[in-house]
């Protein structure tokens, strides 16, 4: 889902720019979990049994519960997002914690366990972590106290500050010293100045902002609406909106993936009474959409492997037990299926 490899490239570029005399990172051999596909299994509500599985697409070998295997303790949370930086992988739990592991062997480097509520995503800027969090529910199950938590130290620590943002912040994106926040409930993109740790600017956007992504050097925001989806691009030098692309597509969910060519794969779910799920394939370049490219029920996550040109489609199987991941070729033909953990919801693909 929220694959941040592109951010990584940007982050490295910027850190090199900012700290050019810093002795740059040495080439280190890749760890066993730094190739192939990490499968994020969200876990079931009330069970906190989220976990990461590792899949090797060439040997088809699947390693289960790799966090627990490496750390002799369960992940114990609902896994919401995986954010990779150069030498750390941040596992963000919606149950209010962040586990920081070495991406090579998944050994724990630290935990942020107190004072978070419903963490959604994370960004690293310099030596600080910025964590989007819904905040606690109020009595009507609204989240009026959503925030971006600031933590000093890349291996975690206590929360230094909570920056109030609009309800239900989701994905984050870093540009230089700025962090963009996808404010999913109120249709806002909030821009945070990471030096002053305060809200700098708010942009009103169409739909419900879900995820930032970058194609051909351009930053896009994917947002959902009842009948349409929106792709908003940004002008980064003056932190403003650029063009908006509106594409008619009903019942789109927050889950999407994209490839290098600008093809976007969006999960849709019809809801009552048909409960039909589908993958819609959208072209950013010519604004076309194939609504029912793949159809089925129980779709819960999606990822695209640009290098191997494979589409990974996760099925929750009703959260009753193991979910599945179906692997499709680029032409939409089913290649294989694997049984994974509970509530598979996203992928990190090396």
């Amino acid at each position: 889902m929220k694959l941040k490899l592109n951010h990584l490239v940007w982050a490295i570029a910027f850190s090199t720019l900012l700290f050019s005399c810093d002795d740059s990172t040495s080439e280190r051999p890749l760890g066993q979990y730094e190739t192939g596909v990490l499968i994020m299994n969200e876990g079931a509500f009330g069970s906190n049994d989220g976990e990461v599985f590792h899949f090797d697409p060439s040997s088809k070998e699947l390693k289960t519960d790799i966090f627990e295997a490496s750390n002799n303790r369960p992940f114990a949370g609902l896994l919401e997002d995986m954010v990779l930086t150069e030498d750390r992988l941040y596992l963000v739990a919606n149950t209010g914690k962040v586990e920081i592991v070495n991406p090579g062997d998944f050994k724990s480097l630290g935990t942020i366990a107190n004072d978070l509520d419903q963490a959604r995503s994370l960004e690293v800027v310099g030596n600080k972590l910025f964590i989007s969090d819904y905040g606690p529910y109020d009595s009507d199950y609204n989240t009026p106290d959503s925030y971006i938590a600031v933590v000093e130290g890349l291996n975690g620590g206590s929360i230094k500050k909570k920056i109030q943002v609009s309800n239900k912040p989701e994905d984050l994106f870093t540009y230089g010293k700025y962090v963009f926040v996808a404010g999913s409930e109120e249709g806002k993109v909030e821009i945070i100045d990471t030096e002053t740790e305060s809200l700098l600017k708010t942009l009103e956007v169409s739909g419900n902002p879900q995820q930032f992504f970058e194609v051909n050097g351009k930053l896009w925001l994917y947002s959902t609406g009842a009948k349409e989806i929106y792709f908003q691009s940004f002008q980064l030098d003056n932190l403003s909106k650029a063009s908006l692309l509106t594409i008619p597509l009903a019942n789109a969910t927050s889950r999407m993936a994209f490839d290098k060519a600008g093809l976007i794969y969006v999960l849709t779910s019809s809801g009552w009474p048909a409960y039909q799920d589908a993958v819609a394939r959208v072209s950013l370049s010519n604004s076309t959409v194939e609504t029912n490219w793949i159809t089925g029920t129980g779709f819960y996550g999606i990822g695209f492997d640009s290098q191997r040109e494979l589409l990974y489609l996760a099925n929750s199987k009703g959260f009753q037990g193991n979910g599945t991941v179906s692997i499709y070729l680029k032409n939409g033909q089913l290649d294989s299926e694997i049984s994974v953990g509970r509530g598979p919801s996203g992928f990190l693909i090396y």
Binding site: G46, S47, N48, D49, T64, D65, N71, R73, P74, F75, A76, G77, A93, T95, G96, K97, E99, S108, G110, T111, A113, N114, L116, D117, P136, S139, D140, N251, S269, S270, G271, W272, Y275, D277, T297, G298, S316, K317, G318, F319, Q320, G321, N322, S339, G341, R342
Partner: protein, 619 residues
């Protein structure tokens, strides 16, 4: 009375109660659980056995002393029973003959049924749809008040202190004459539950103290009974229990949920005793109000029933009745009403002294659905008897039914009004052997087999969860229970033990390629055992009790299993402290003696060793 008229209309028999003078009732009458349950396993707990569970819940009693598995969501938190591999909603719970399961949830939380509220507990195993109606699929629980006439004044006060901020008090006052009986019980329980546990969700699994897990309960029970004349008895009971709980978060979560449960139950019975018959008119009211954080879910149930129990001849007994049930639900997301009418007939035939056969039938009408045929058939056959031995073979076949709950049908969003009832068919064979050759020894061995179909499961459909008749499950198992009473020099020795093997296999999953098919259901141990030995001499009692719960799968097909655990409890009591006429028994108890770290359900912390001191004052 209208009710009498109904009986007449439905069965075409006028309710002729024989007005022959009956002996004055010395006991407050309650129909016997085993009257028509031939061929089915029954276990009962007397008030003396319940006394040891002062300050604890019905769930604790059953987990430690019966083949039932209790799914426990933390210390003092939700306890739901699993009988013979079935789910929490597959257990009917009765209080003084009134079904008290929540109509919106279709189950009872055993942690908020404190032992202090009742005098007697009966457990019936296996499907009992014909005898007990809705929800008796895996079995049923029968909680009763037991009061007497002609005992004068009796009273006691009990105070208990324990680890983790436990503070329980109870006061009981009973007064009875030959024709009037009253018993009042008031209790208050509270526990901070700030027990230490290793937090598996944090790096280094540091020891932390449980937080947001305090529980307090207060309640009052009033039982009244009158002998109106020599052949008529009236009794009434009410029970109000209020539980305020912080909901202990699952490890890794920081939730601060609060739950308050207010349960009010009222039952009024009128009995008219003929020479060979008993007519019962019963009316009842149950109100459950659950406030979870700010969301409130209220249900009310009204009951009106009557039955007529008659000894037709020395070989034939017959009972027939009707129950009307009106349900009103005002839930946080919907409002709904439901009406149910049930009629039932039971026959017991004893061709000779060795054989008892019972046949039970029930017809159930709810909304526009009609279930015309819910039967059970069972027999007890005494195959061997001499001066010191008795061997009885039991066998039965039965059907059970569960009407989809109000939430299943009406919850917004997702409620599915087209759900079918869950249905079970069960059979069992058992052997009961009692002997007094070496000691007073009782052994029972039961094999059961059950099929539950149309099992309702909530599945996510788009953004909402929707219940569907999904699963079919095949359950089978063996229950072995034994007890012994003997004397050794001047010690009275009492021991009991049990072992349960339970297989509950999903034979139809959520779709054609459900990889859980053929596997054991989640949180259903294959092996369970418990045992207890008590040594008593001159009022001094030592007891050691232990129970074992085998491995449980977290899901039907996942790799995660919960390890088995065994806990040991130790008790020491002295009954003979006396000041004048006032008895002051004292009791000291250590639960989880070896401070075993365990979880019943994944990541739900449970307390280690705890100490409890109980002082009673009895008049």
């Amino acid at each position: 009375m209208n009710v009498l008229l109904w009986i007449g209309l439905i069965f075409g028999i006028p309710p002729q109660v024989q007005d022959t003078v009956h002996l004055a009732q010395v006991a407050v009458y309650a129909p016997d659980l085993s009257q028509f349950t031939q061929g089915q396993k029954i276990q009962t707990f007397s008030s003396i056995e319940l006394k040891e569970y002062f300050g604890r819940s019905l769930g604790d009693l059953l987990q430690e002393n019966s083949p039932i598995f209790i799914r426990q969501y933390g210390a003092g938190m939700l306890q739901s029973p699993s009988f013979r591999g079935t789910s929490a909603g597959h257990t009917a719970v009765f209080w003084n003959g009134l079904p008290i399961n929540s109509p919106s949830l279709g189950q009872s939380d055993l942690s908020i049924l404190p032992i202090q509220g009742v005098d007697q507990v009966g457990v019936q195993f296996g499907s009992g749809g014909a005898l007990f109606g809705n929800e008796a699929i895996g079995g049923s629980l029968h909680l009763n008040s037991k009061t007497e006439f002609g005992k004068g004044f009796q009273g006691n006060f009990i105070q208990q202190f324990g680890s983790f901020g436990q503070f329980n008090s109870s006061i009981k006052a009973a007064y009875s004459t030959a024709n009037f009986s009253s018993q009042t019980k008031i209790y208050r329980e509270s526990v901070e539950n700030n027990f230490p546990f290793n937090d598996l969700s944090q790096a280094g699994t540091p020891e932390k103290k449980a937080a947001n897990s305090a529980v307090s309960q207060v309640g009052i029970v009033q039982d009244l009974a009158w002998n109106l004349d020599l052949s008529k008895q009236l009794k009434a009971s009410f029970w109000y229990n209020q539980a305020a709980r912080e909901i202990q978060p699952v490890m890794g979560s920081m939730t601060q949920d609060q739950q308050e449960d207010q349960n009010f139950r009222l039952v009024i019975d009128y009995f008219r005793f003929g020479e060979k018959s008993v007519l019962n008119l019963k009316t009842g009211f149950v109100q459950d109000n659950q406030i979870f954080n700010q969301s409130e879910n209220l249900t009310r149930q009204f009951f009106l029933s009557t039955d007529y129990d008659v000894t037709v001849s020395s070989k034939w007994n017959l009972k027939t009745g009707i129950r009307l049930n009106s349900i009103q639900g005002i839930l946080s997301t919907y409002q709904a009403n439901d009406q149910r009418i049930e009629t039932y007939q039971s026959f017991r035939f004893e061709p000779n002294q060795k054989i008892k056969i019972s046949l039970n039938l029930r017809e159930l009408l709810y909304q526009d659905q009609f279930e015309p045929f819910i039967p059970s058939l069972g027999a007890d056959w005494e195959i061997w008897k001499n001066e010191s031995n008795e061997l009885i073979i039991q066998a039965s076949l039965a059907k059970g039914i569960k009407i989809p709950t109000l939430n299943d049908r009406f919850w917004e969003p997702g409620g599915n009004p087209n759900l079918l009832p869950e249905e079970s068919k069960s059979g069992e064979v058992g052997l009961n052997w009692t002997t007094n050759t070496v000691a007073n020894l009782e052994n029972s061995l039961t094999y059961y087999r059950m099929n539950v179909d149309n099992w309702i499961i909530w599945l996510p459909k788009g953004s909402s969860w929707v219940p569907e008749n999904i699963r079919e499950v095949l359950n089978q198992g063996i229950e072995y229970q034994g007890s012994a009473k003997t004397q050794f020099s001047s010690w009275n020795i009492h021991a009991n033990w049990s072992y349960t093997w339970s297989r509950a296999i999903s034979i139809k999953g959520i779709d054609g390629n459900d990889s859980g098919k053929g596997n054991q259901l989640p949180y259903t141990p294959q092996h369970q055992a418990n045992g207890k030995i008590a040594l008593e001499k001159n009022g001094l009692t030592f007891s050691i009790q232990s129970f074992f719960v085998g491995q449980r799968q977290v899901t039907t097909d996942g790799p995660r299993t919960m390890p088995s655990f065994q806990l040991v409890n130790f008790g020491l009591s002295y009954q003979k402290v006396q000041i004048g006429k006032i008895q002051i028994p004292v009791n000291f108890q250590i639960n989880n003696l070896f401070n075993t770290e365990y979880q019943v359900l994944y990541l739900r912390a449970m307390p280690g060793r705890s100490f409890h001191f109980t002082l009673s004052i009895q008049i």
